[in-house]
């Protein structure tokens, strides 16, 4: 399994220094956004990373693409350790590793027409040799994401949210990447448009063999699109497994309550099911609980949970869980 992994993180850590000032006295505190996160993604598959806001899922994606310098741990891409690689050495990887952002309104430069947004990276990475070739390629990409020729010279504000997300996808696609971090690519879109984008992503994976890290808070969408799923809570990966194993045989109490909180669009099923409603809020990552991060809201918490951070343990078939008292 590890041989086929195109991307691997080992104990990835991303800490931020937060400066606080109170009555003229400054102090620096550490916010542990990502703490010892390890997982691997096989080529051509989709790894869904789910969790609530502030759990560190986006930070994982950004640290992998070296948009942040990791505080600790390793990121291994296709057998090469890229964690401390210089920007110059990393340049060819920039092409291979792309990103699709959540907000199609802020991730496209409002002063550039579509031809420039998609075309500039083509020139930068020398994927085209002249302007005519570049224009042809832009047109081809625009068609692939379902837009038309007369869209090429327009500016981002002339498009709807769904169309803008298509432009963002075309921009990533232009690089003919191998690996794409999709950071909440559909959260800002209406339901009827969401399905259009999901289908495009699935279609391209089939055609080009893309590997996706699909970051989302929407467990229904993640179940639909992913082959493997990881669940994060307060900076830690608490459980990961193949999609049907995770949704059918969850072992972590957090995974269970997260799934039971998802509203299902079926009135009878919604009425019939037993919901586990978590009490309270997610603790502040500036002041996380000792031991297991979830213990303050966990119904299965034992005294040991306050003392020791549980390690991710393989319970068979690549299903890993970090819990002292997992569900049976």
């Amino acid at each position: 399994m590890t041989d086929k992994a195109i991307l691997k993180t080992e104990n990835l850590r991303m800490f931020f220094d937060i400066r606080t000032t109170a009555l003229g006295k400054g102090s620096v505190r550490q916010l542990k956004a990502v703490n010892d996160v390890s997982f691997s993604i096989e080529k051509g598959r989709t790894f869904g990373l789910v969790g609530e806001s502030g759990c560190g899922k986006t930070t994982v994606g950004r640290a992998i693409l070296k948009l942040y310098r990791a505080t600790g741990g390793r990121v291994i891409y296709d057998g090469t350790d890229i964690t401390d690689m210089s920007e110059r050495d990393f340049f060819p990887y920039r092409r291979k590793m792309q990103m699709i952002f959540q907000d199609p309104y802020t991730s496209l430069d409002p002063r550039q027409p579509v031809s420039e947004i998609i075309g500039a990276p083509l020139t930068l990475h020398r994927l085209v040799s002249n302007n005519a070739e570049r224009a042809d390629r832009v047109r081809e990409l625009i068609h692939m994401v379902g837009l038309k020729d007369d869209h090429i010279n327009r500016y981002p504000h002339e498009f709807s949210g769904g169309q803008r997300q298509r432009i963002g996808i075309a921009r990533a696609l232009a690089m003919m990447p191998e690996f794409i971090v999709c950071d909440e690519p559909i959260s800002a879109l209406d339901v009827s448009i969401q399905a259009q984008i999901i289908n495009i992503l699935e279609e391209f994976q089939e055609r080009f063999g893309f590997t996706y890290l699909f970051i989302s808070h929407d467990l229904s969408v993640v179940r639909h699109i992913s082959h493997d799923v990881g669940v994060m809570y307060l900076g830690s990966l608490v459980e990961a497994a193949a999609v049907n194993e995770l949704y059918g045989n969850m072992k972590h109490p957090y995974t269970q309550s997260l799934l039971s909180a998802v509203p299902i669009a079926d009135p009878a099923a919604a009425r019939g099911r037993k919901r586990i409603i978590l009490e309270g809020d997610v603790p502040s990552p500036l002041d996380p609980p000792s031991g297991c991060p979830f213990r303050t809201r966990c119904r299965n918490a034992l005294p040991v949970c306050a003392q020791e951070h549980p390690n991710l343990t393989d319970i068979g078939g690549g299903h890993v869980v970090a819990c002292h008292n997992m569900l049976v």
Binding site: S192, A195, I198, N199, S220, R223, S257, I264, D266, I277
Partner: protein, 337 residues
């Protein structure tokens, strides 16, 4: 007296903006029964929020609201002056909005904000109002309410702020609670808490609740009746079972088949609705869904279908020419899009 707490007939709301007129709501009929939990669902820009803001007269100056009838609890809202309307809001009609950070005033304590409507509408003394505020905070599940009363909104988490909003909305024991996307800004586990609380409050206070949302999952787990809106019009309405198990409008069917299901193990391909919603600056003459509908006929683009019951007396209404026998009789067959 009818069982309707709120009755809307032929509501039309326009906004004049720099480039022209946006026809946000284009003639809708809607009612809310006493004590019922009604969901209004639709995508952004379909007019679901504007409908409720029109009823409450909370729209900006550039809005024009017209209706044949707007009645709350038997009283004609069209004839009510501004002052009387203000007296009704927050008293008989409670409101919860999407973003609890912007709907609470950051400069006043939570206590102040819960006590204000009690003092204004119920003429309570400071002491009485404080007692009631503590009671309300306790009821919505905020621990140590006496201390929390003295705190400001920024000291509360998103879920807690929404609980405070619910406490304010319910404090005067309203007959109707209007909740506009109350859980959209919240995480799923917190959303589950708030929906549970809203159902609980509805039982305790037996207030009619009108929940506006874009999330069909939220509708399925809370509402008993549903109204589906699109392009400023009602496409379909009926019992929650009718809408989810026997949807009759192509738009409702399209919405339901474009969502992925957390309980679904198979990898069925999603069937999205092609295209995007109509531009309401220049709304289509006929059914607003025509351009995206797989079953569109010539008449669909030419004239707007009326909302009619699928089976008389069922309460399941659909606005679609496919249901209208006249559409077939005048020789306009199904044409390709």
């Amino acid at each position: 007296m009818s069982g309707h707490i709120l009755e809307i007939q032929n509501l039309r709301t326009d906004f004049s903006i720099a480039g022209g007129i946006v026809r946000a709501v284009r003639g809708i009929d809607l009612f809310v029964d006493r004590g019922e939990f009604l969901g209004v669902v639709g995508e952004s820009g379909c007019g679901k929020s504007v409908t409720m803001l029109s009823v409450m007269r909370l729209l900006s100056e550039n809005a024009t609201v017209r209706a044949d009838r707007l009645a709350f609890d038997g009283r004609d809202l069209l004839r009510l002056d501004h002052k009387k309307m203000r007296r009704m809001l927050g008293d008989e009609i409670g409101m919860i909005f999407q973003d609890p950070m912007t709907s609470l005033d950051p400069l006043y304590t939570i206590g102040n904000q819960i006590m204000e409507p009690l003092k204004i509408h119920r003429k309570m003394s400071g002491h009485e109002a404080r007692k009631r505020a503590v009671e309300m905070l306790d009821l919505v599940g905020i621990p140590s309410p006496e201390q929390r009363l003295k705190q400001y909104p920024h000291e509360f988490s998103g879920g807690m702020r929404q609980r405070v909003m619910i406490a304010i909305a319910m404090s005067c024991n309203p007959k109707l609670l209007i909740a506009d996307e109350p859980t959209t800004a919240l995480d799923v586990t917190i959303q589950a808490q708030i929906l549970e609380l809203m159902k609980d409050m509805q039982e305790k206070f037996s207030a009619a609740t009108l929940l506006i949302t874009h999330d069909l999952g939220v509708i399925a787990s809370t509402c008993s009746r549903v109204v589906v809106m699109y392009g400023g019009l009602i496409m379909e309405s009926g019992d929650v079972e009718d809408i989810f198990y026997r949807p009759a409008h192509p738009y409702t069917i399209g919405l339901l088949s474009s969502i992925s299901d957390a309980a679904d193990t198979g990898k069925k391909k999603l069937s999205p609705i092609p295209g995007s919603p109509p531009d309401l600056m220049n709304p289509p003459r006929g059914c607003p869904f025509t351009a995206r509908c797989d079953f569109a006929m010539r008449i669909c683009a030419a004239s707007r279908p009326a909302l009619a019951e699928t089976v008389p007396g069922s309460g399941h209404g659909v606005a679609c020419w496919l249901r209208d026998t006249r559409a077939k009789l005048d020789g306009t067959g199904v044409t390709a899009r």
